[in-house]
């Protein structure tokens, strides 16, 4: 009875079979996301105008350098892991990049937190609204590349909606935070922690449930 039902199901699946548009390769989708990020970065850099000592700041302090590295890992590996989450058969790549992204974000946050608590990296007297300003800029900068990343994820076939949503959000907002961190001239570990690293952490926590439910509904 049920075996005949399986044959019947196959017949119903192949009946009036419409052609489907194949999902582009992971490499192609990643290239689009990164191109949007580069365009975003250049536009932001041009809008900001000349920034004194921006590049020197990145190399002068080891704390800033570690945050660049950590945010870079979170952004790029998170983006790869987010895209891989919608592609069956790419689980190993997804697992490795997810671990690297979380490791980068966690390590950078831990270093920034430790520097902030011990006061090693200066900037303690800076007004707190400047942290909020960079936080909101990081979210704005994430809209274009991050939005593309989330759309690509929705086009795929997501196996674990909640964890896929979490890592995609880390990647998406990591890209925005990285843009801000590379351009921002403000010093201080607390500023980096709240204004730059805070965006991927807070936004992935806030967006986890809505995006997870969206993926469960539309990407399965």
């Amino acid at each position: 009875m049920t075996s005949r039902g399986t044959r019947g199901l196959i017949e119903s699946l192949v009946a009036d079979l419409p052609p489907v548009r194949r999902l582009p390769s992971l490499r192609g989708l990643l290239a689009v996301v990164l191109a949007l990020w580069v365009a975003d970065f250049i536009a932001y850099r041009l809008m900001r105008g000349p920034i004194d000592g921006s590049l020197e700041r990145l190399t002068a302090s080891w704390g800033v350098g570690i945050v660049v590295l950590g945010l870079g890992l979170a952004a790029f590996c998170g983006a790869i892991a987010g895209l891989a989450a919608g592609m069956p058969g790419r689980e190993t790549l997804g697992r490795v990049t997810r671990c690297l992204a979380l490791l980068g974000l966690g390590f950078a946050s831990a270093i920034a937190l430790a520097s902030s608590v011990t006061g090693v990296d200066g900037g303690a007297g800076m007004p707190i609204h400047l942290d909020g300003l960079c936080f909101s800029k990081a979210i704005m900068m994430a809209l274009l590349p991050g939005g593309a990343l989330l759309v690509f994820l929705l086009m795929g076939w997501v196996q674990r909606p909640m964890s896929s949503a979490a890592i995609a959000l880390v990647g998406a907002f990591g890209l925005g935070a990285l843009t801000v961190h590379l351009v921002c001239p403000l010093p201080g570990a607390r500023h980096m922690l709240i204004g730059h690293l805070g965006a991927p952490v807070v936004m992935s926590l806030l967006g986890l449930l809505p995006l997870g439910l969206l993926l469960r509904r539309f990407a399965r």
Partner: protein, 173 residues
């Protein structure tokens, strides 16, 4: 699969029939009951159908297929678990009624009380209960007969079971 993505029904049928023994082996390694295993196999086939746009011809087919099958099996276990928690089969419904109202197992006919309770259900709920519990169809088969999605059919059946329980409990009291 590349041909299936282009809409070639014959190639797609051939592919699904070719992978069917592999899927059955994969599922039956985890599900002992053959009826339940066949339900899971059907869920895996539905998942493959829905995810067919994600296959890339330059990538190997095996890992793609196994990833979808593995997750569809896990999803099926979750669904079955939820169904067992929520639904009550005919045997359980019979237990709610008085002993004399139980369905005689040897001729397969319904007891008058159960028949009366079934008739009191809304048409769509009654159809869902009859297709699954009395005609023995799987959820996918019953959904195809009722021309609704599997999810909608499960909801109708679930509501039907609850209404039946209420109706039978009311008859007893």
């Amino acid at each position: 699969m590349a041909a299936a993505q282009a809409g070639d029904a014959d190639q797609y049928r051939a592919l699904l029939e070719e992978i069917l023994p592999v899927l059955r082996g994969l599922v039956r390694a985890r599900v002992r009951d053959s009826g339940a295993a066949e339900d899971v196999v059907q869920n895996v086939l539905l998942s493959i159908h829905r995810a067919r746009h994600t296959f890339r011809p330059e990538r190997p087919f095996g890992p793609w297929l196994r990833a979808i099958a593995r997750n569809a099996v896990v999803d099926s276990f979750r669904q079955v678990g939820r169904r067992l928690e929520r639904e009550v089969g005919v045997e359980a419904i019979d237990q709610l009624a008085a002993p004399e109202a139980r369905r005689p197992p040897e001729d397969g006919t319904l007891s008058p009380r159960l028949e009366q309770a079934l008739k009191s259900l809304p048409e769509k709920q009654r159809q869902a209960v009859e297709l699954i519990q009395l005609q023995g169809l799987s959820v996918a088969e019953a959904a195809a007969v009722a021309r609704v999605s599997a999810g909608a059919l499960k909801v109708r059946a679930h509501r039907g079971y609850k209404a039946l329980r209420r109706a039978l409990a009311g008859v007893d009291h």
